[in-house]
Symmetry: C2
């Protein structure tokens, strides 16, 4: 397998370019100074960017390049899901070592493209440069949304119900188990949790469908830093508080089993840093049944786990006996010293 | 000066956000899952991305963060200049060490914003993550251009004149002198060349003005990998060749002096890898005088250094006695082993 140094930049760029697929709305694709794109008229543009760093966001021993690329795309797609925006075009900026194999880069881009392609988007340009230390991949994703219809973090009102998709906490549990298990081979028992960590599925289709029912969702955020931290961001942006209940969570025997194995309370796992790429939504209380039915029709659990309150900035958790305590879980901070 | 670890991600993001300026065409700025932007109707979107890596694209001993940010913006602005597109919105993706000072990050973003702001653009979002090795900064810049009016690499025809702005080769000479000089203090003699390397000025205003005269410029590329390499890309995209003449270059006594000091032929410096962020244009031969006058009115030299030929893929250099030799200069390759 040739390395980037063997092949040289131009040839590597040619190989990456050759893999890209034709897309609508592209006047000029990769290979010029910039890409030229055709926004649909009457739509607003939605832009996000997310980066994965070797050893921080992925462990090469656990993920093949294809899966790393798909997960990077999922992180960006999830941001657009939280805006109810349709993904369209992406730019992939790569910092790679000269001794890396060309094949690994091609595979990573293939993973990005494949995940984007499932939602009608694709890579239209990028940048490739050399690093000597850890490799990194920064993806910028552009999408569109009808004017004024993007979901925001700031729309939650007191009384709105707090809904979450899927199984928050699984990604963190998967990562903790992977650290403990050491090798991929011993991990068969924990497949569902490892998949939640390694191959999350962004909730785009559900978001776009919910968005067609105007007013059902009043605020949204994607869960990439952990539920408590991300919920606090919605509260801050909306000027409200939140009360989480002990009930209402989607039953998750896999997570219960992991919590027992790891010796951690399951609620703590659900609220603490975890990049699940699920959605947290503020839902009109009159629309809980309808929104749950829409999600169920797609096979996606939508759990109502509490409500927004008028107490700005206060996030509390109510236990089964009705006792309320302040949430002390914090969001993920990449600069904090990592606990052992 | 607090470090990123001292302050934590949320507070650092708040500081970066506080520095951002209000801009037109932004429905929702930083602080949500994505930015929401309002493209002007009837315009195409132009998107480019470029990244700077510590030790590769900048040397911290030579450039303060403000200058690194401005140069990163210049690299992206130059790509839009080569498309004749108006810059509008940027997303800044950062990989920083936990022990870096918050101030250095704020300064770097200030440099990006200040350079973008001179051309009516600004930062509307981004990403911040932790690295343990070399830091990096990846900027995605979006602009717009009237439908079908973007300059491309593919428009050059045999007979079109090859024009270059400014003083190609100065950036490479500046870098070579910096490596030799070692410290900034001893560099006063070479200020013009060091500035070309450290603080290039993208040729956006000139590009946008030339673009108002339809048909004057038929193809364009920005010079970021070196003139010979970039010219070869235009030839490949346009299916033409090029013949460079020994005459026609803008006189550059500073570069002549550097060539003598470095013991390198001045033409070799001009053609070899150098990130000058000048423009190379294919100009309608009937419009050479007019385009030169437009550039001169802005104080920018525009030199006609050869012409495109029907010999696809052939790039030659004619010396003063009329002898033609093939160009053997290659473009910059970040993965090639660096010569001593």
């Amino acid at each position: 397998m040739p390395s980037l140094r063997d092949l040289g930049e131009s040839e590597v760029l040619e190989r990456l370019k050759a893999e890209r697929v034709a897309m609508t709305g592209v006047s000029l694709g990769p290979g010029d100074d910039a890409a030229v794109l055709e926004p649909a008229s009457g739509m607003e543009l939605v832009a996000t960017t997310d980066a994965f760093v070797e050893g921080v966001h992925y462990l090469p021993t656990w993920s093949a390049p294809l899966a790393i690329g798909a997960r990077l795309a999922a992180a960006n797609l999830s941001d657009l899901a939280a805006m109810a925006a349709r993904p369209r075009w992406a730019l992939l900026s790569i910092g790679a070592r000269a001794d890396s194999s060309v094949e690994s880069l091609v595979e990573l881009q293939r993973g990005v493209q494949s995940a984007l392609g499932r939602h009608g988007a694709g890579v239209v340009g990028g940048n490739l440069t050399a690093v000597t230390g850890g490799e990194w991949f920064s993806l910028t994703l552009l999408g569109d949304v009808a004017k004024g219809q993007a979901w925001r973090r700031s729309g939650a009102r007191p009384g709105d119900r707090i809904a979450v998709t899927g199984f928050p906490g699984r990604a963190a549990a998967g990562l903790a188990l992977a650290r403990r298990l050491g090798t991929r081979e011993r991990a068969a028992d924990w497949e569902a949790l490892l998949q939640a960590w390694l191959a999350p599925e962004p909730r785009l289709d559900l978001a776009l469908e919910l968005a067609t029912r105007r007013g059902v969702v009043r605020a949204a955020i994607d869960l990439s830093d952990g539920l408590a931290g991300d919920l606090a961001k919605v509260c801050a942006a909306s000027g409200v508080g939140a009360r989480l209940s002990a009930d209402g969570w989607t039953a998750d025997p896999e997570l219960d089993r992991a919590a027992a194995t790891l010796g951690v309370d399951v609620t703590t796992i659900r609220l603490s840093p975890s990049d699940d790429y699920e959605l947290l939504l503020a839902v009109d209380p009159a629309q809980t049944t309808e929104s749950q039915a829409i999600a169920a029709a797609r096979g996606i659990p939508l759990a109502f786990i509490g409500e927004f309150t008028p107490r700005a900035g206060s996030v509390t958790i109510e236990d089964r006996s009705g006792v309320e305590r302040p949430s002390d879980e914090r969001g993920y901070d990449p600069f904090a010293p990592r606990s052992a």
